[in-house]
Symmetry: C2
């Protein structure tokens, strides 16, 4: 028998008694810790800066964020069942080790053991994009599905594979690194050293570069600004496209074709139930999505094989918005259906 | 206690007492039924033509081949535990139905139920390329591995995904149809209606076409033969390349680059333990494999990300040769490790 709990005013008894988890979106500059129920409801989010001066310091930042979030939630600690952490970079989820993260300045940091020692709560860690995909099947557009792909397009590009409801890691945890698959032979140089990588063609900075190169070629656009050189941002390109700027619209058509080129390959190779699009660039919404769908529809109209595996509703924007980092992390410690 | 069995001369007692399966490679023109032990040893193969005049007739052809193979093997029927069938076309493996096969003239044929009725043995069916991949992890180059890809390049192109030691089918059994993924935008017309599909660039007929178009352009080659028009075969191109013909060698370099383009994508997306190459074209051996490996090595030398997920030994030619159809089918009814 549970003894009755004191209602803190905004808590109903049943709300407090259900299990809760803390999902932590760990970034190189900011940490966001949310207290999340088993349906993906976020009770409170606590945000703070990340101290990356040392692994110890960053782990202390994370622990402090978790403690503050729990305190602010007014959920009794015994109802917090665990803490999930989504981390940028290469993660060994089984061993709980942050193998390499440039943003956090981590090399082989025993994140799980260290945080469990500080917090006294079970912790689970995962790469942030992979965690986001789990958030999608637990709480988002892919709720209840078994085999989906989550394509994150932001400053970089990566994909996460949900296979039988679980994250698929590949041989050494590198599955999904299609940001560095070549999609345009002899295309622009990528920071990995390759040429024409997906990331060098369609990530945020690449979208800005593509618009800028059209401007440099003398094309008219509301984006033209001789004082800015290559300081154009992807957001500005989407804004201009939203206002009907033809150069910006043309850029997004081209980027949409390149993303569709990757997606047609994934539909035919993997035949997923759903592909969810997330990441910073996806926040542009329909301006981002429409050219992708249009290009796939054109290809499917020509090829009966693609028409069998692709339907427009099988590509969706994430519905979890900016909270996907917290919800994905929380999903790491909630039991699968 | 088993009662002693009569040795038929070529049978040792232990050989007869072990469990056996029949693997059937069902083609549109020929059927090959093999009696296979649990290590992939083939005791006997019986071959006959396929009667495709009706689904009934083709099922009778298959049943007759199975019975003849069992009889010729001299294995007592009670030691034959089941029959596996690899079928060209779309198969519902769970329901045991041949959904669509152009070569066999099948539409929704209840293969499993029909053959179990005739043979009195448990039957399992699968698409032939998918079965071949299972043969690889059970008996071949991928023995004991969990996550491999089997790429079959012959008259057509398809891939089979082995995930956690089992065949992955995708949403509606179409996973692996990458023969119809576009790899060259605005490339040559494919029979699916698309342009620049992988199959239209690198399957056997496409290899012949690519060599022929160079000849048509007036290039010197031992392949030039004005009486043949487009009757050039893929085998002839490989033969000429083996003799050092520069046009044929150049064709295979180009085809190798196209196949490598697909493989780099698969390594980065899926990070398999191994990719096995099979199908009729792969029988050309190193002449087929070398340009693929060379192209991937060049790309990996540029991109550290690809270098992490690709090593040359991760691409292998099938070691099961022309028996892969029988062994893959037999693997359908042998228990996984």
């Amino acid at each position: 028998m549970e003894s009755p709990l004191i209602d803190k005013g905004h808590n109903s008894l049943s709300t407090v008694l259900q299990p809760w988890h803390v999902g932590v979106d760990v970034g190189g500059t900011k940490i966001a810790a949310g207290v999340v129920d088993t349906n993906g409801g976020i009770r409170v989010i606590y945000r703070r800066s990340t101290d990356t001066s040392s692994p110890q310091a960053s782990l202390s930042s994370i622990a402090e964020a978790v403690e503050q979030a729990i305190t602010e939630s007014a959920i009794p600690r015994q109802h917090i069942l665990g803490v999930g952490l989504g981390i940028p970079g290469l993660v060994d989820a089984d061993k709980g080790i942050g193998i390499a993260s440039v943003n956090l300045n981590w090399q082989n940091v025993p994140v799980k053991a260290a945080l469990e020692g500080i917090l006294g709560l079970p912790c689970a860690i995962e790469n942030d994009v992979r965690a986001a995909a789990l958030g999608e099947v637990r709480f988002g557009a892919g709720r209840g599905l078994e085999n989906i792909l989550y394509l994150s397009i932001g400053t970089g590009i990566a994909i996460s594979i949900i296979q039988d409801g679980k994250i698929f890691h590949g041989l050494n945890g590198m599955a999904g690194e299609i940001g560095h698959a070549v999609i345009e032979r002899d295309g622009p140089l990528c920071k990995c050293g390759g040429r024409g990588c997906f990331e060098a063609m369609a990530a945020g900075p690449a979208i800005a570069r593509r618009a800028w190169s059209k401007i440099q070629a003398g094309r008219a656009s509301m984006l033209v600004n001789p004082n800015r050189a290559d300081a154009l941002t992807c957001e500005e390109v989407f804004q201009a496209a939203g206002l009907g700027d033809s150069l910006a619209c043309e850029t997004l058509q081209e980027v949409g074709k390149d993303i569709a080129f990757v997606l047609q390959f994934l539909f035919l190779f993997y035949e997923p139930q759903l592909i969810v699009l997330g990441g910073g660039v996806s926040l542009a919404g329909q301006l981002f999505l429409d050219p992708i769908i249009k290009s796939l529809e054109q290809q499917a109209a020509e090829s009966w094989v693609l028409a069998k595996v692709f339907k427009p509703q099988m590509i969706q924007l994430t519905t979890l918005g900016r909270d996907i980092g917290i919800l994905g992390a929380a999903a790491l410690c909630t039991p699968p259906r």
